[in-house]
Amino acid sequence: MDNDTGLIHPLWVRVTHWINAVAVVILVTSGWKIYDASPLFGFRFPENITLGGWLGGAIQWHFAAMWLLFANGLVYLACNVISGRLRSKFFPLSPRAVLADVLAAVKGQLSHADLRHYNAVQRTAYLFVMLDSVLLVLSGLVLWKSVQFPVLRELLGGYEAARRVHFLAMAAMVAFAGVHLLMVALVPRTLLAMVRGR
């Protein structure tokens, strides 16, 4: 289908991608402010890269953007599954293929000629960030409503463990975004493709 129109990313991918980007930026920066109220580890995030001004403001941003991430994520996953894109773009995926593509990337031999085709490293990274988002939502649910979701809470090892899971999942998300942006900077055509679709 995509081949016929020359489209790299269908409209729903682009729309959900950018809504997700906005939601993640709000959630991460307000989340840092919330973290700063009671740091889990021996550091704080600098005030000027956090959102919300104070704890109450940060929580309002966080608990508004969570709906955006959640609803948009559901639309994305539903479209992905129903359209068959999840299967066709992200699978098959094998450790051997990932290793081969990592080596090719290191040698600078990985082709980006066809942006419709995701190489094994991309497939892994995008699937990883999908699962990481799910983990962020679930661990966030435990932090927000630890009494009301007992099974989820115990699965994550209790309230205090869920704080750490939520933090580490955030760190993984930010690490992904860092690499993602670096890749976009290396292959700027991909940014154009995510804006206008081709």
Binding site: A37, L51, I59, Q60, W61, A64, V147
Partner: protein, 263 residues
């Protein structure tokens, strides 16, 4: 319900965490009240560009966030299961010392006189007589070891004892179909809760901490303890309780903390 015991390593982490939390509470309290917090929030942080370009009107953003917070109240009311209990823990897991927390510093803790103390009860209740501490202590008591979760993220386990709030509300003939129960405190704190939470079996008119009369730092002579709500929803030094259908708000809630504040 099976509660997984944390590993020893986690328990030690918990102590370090608590020390940090205690430090942070001081830090947090030093900051003045910020009713117009969102005016600052937009000029700080990630969205400064937006406000700089005047794409987003700040008060409309503030209103929108408040609306979402009200929506989140509704969602939490809907998610709240009046029969679902918060996990309870063995005495050995009690956090010692249990952190002090308030909107003021520890040296400003209010001392309430036991002899002259009267608990006022008003609003949609049949019996509006003022209660002495002795009368409250004469009611059937229970205790619980539960986790106190602070809006800042840290948590600590404590042991509270007292009168199930549902029995108290029934005893004073409260209209249990009313929407809110409000609290006014000797330290000028005030807050309010929804009726389903007021009637939850673990909601306790708390008179003791760790089997001793509630010390001033934990809210003498009486506090409301709800393991189904965040710390700021648990008022200390309660002087007056009222049942109403008019939204009473709260000290932190009026500044932007979520009203339902449930966990």
């Amino acid at each position: 319900m099976i509660i997984k015991k944390p590993s020893r390593r986690l328990a030690i982490d918990g102590d370090a965490l608590l020390k940090d939390a205690l430090k942070d509470i001081g830090h947090h309290i030093e900051q003045p009240l910020r009713r117009a917090f969102l005016q600052r929030s937009l000029t700080l942080g990630g969205l400064s560009l937006l406000s700089g370009c005047a794409i987003v009107d700040e008060s409309s953003v503030e209103n929108a966030l408040m609306k979402v917070s009200r929506f989140n109240d509704k969602v939490q009311g809907w998610l709240f299961d009046p029969k679902r209990l918060a996990p309870t823990y063995p005495d050995s897991m009690i956090t010692r010392p249990f952190p002090f927390n308030a909107y003021y510093d520890e040296d400003e803790i209010r001392e309430v006189d036991e002899e002259s103390y009267r608990l006022e009860v008003s609003g949609m209740v049949a019996d509006k007589h003022a209660w002495t501490l002795a009368e409250l202590r004469a009611m059937p008591q229970t205790d619980q070891v539960t986790r106190h979760i602070c809006v800042e993220g840290w948590s600590a386990i404590g042991k509270w004892g007292g009168v199930p709030f549902a029995s108290f509300l029934r005893k004073v003939g409260a209209d249990l179909s009313a929407k809110y129960v409000g609290f006014k405190c000797a330290d000028d704190y005030y807050t309010s809760i929804d009726m389903p939470t007021a009637l939850h079996p673990q909601t306790l008119l708390t008179l003791t901490y760790d089997s001793q009369p509630l010390p001033p730092r934990y809210g003498f002579p009486m506090k409301l303890r709800m393991p189904t709500k965040l710390g700021y929803k648990n008022p200390k030094h309660i002087q007056a309780i009222f049942v109403t259908n008019t939204y009473p708000g709260g000290y932190w809630e009026d500044q932007g903390y979520n009203w339902f504040g449930g966990s």
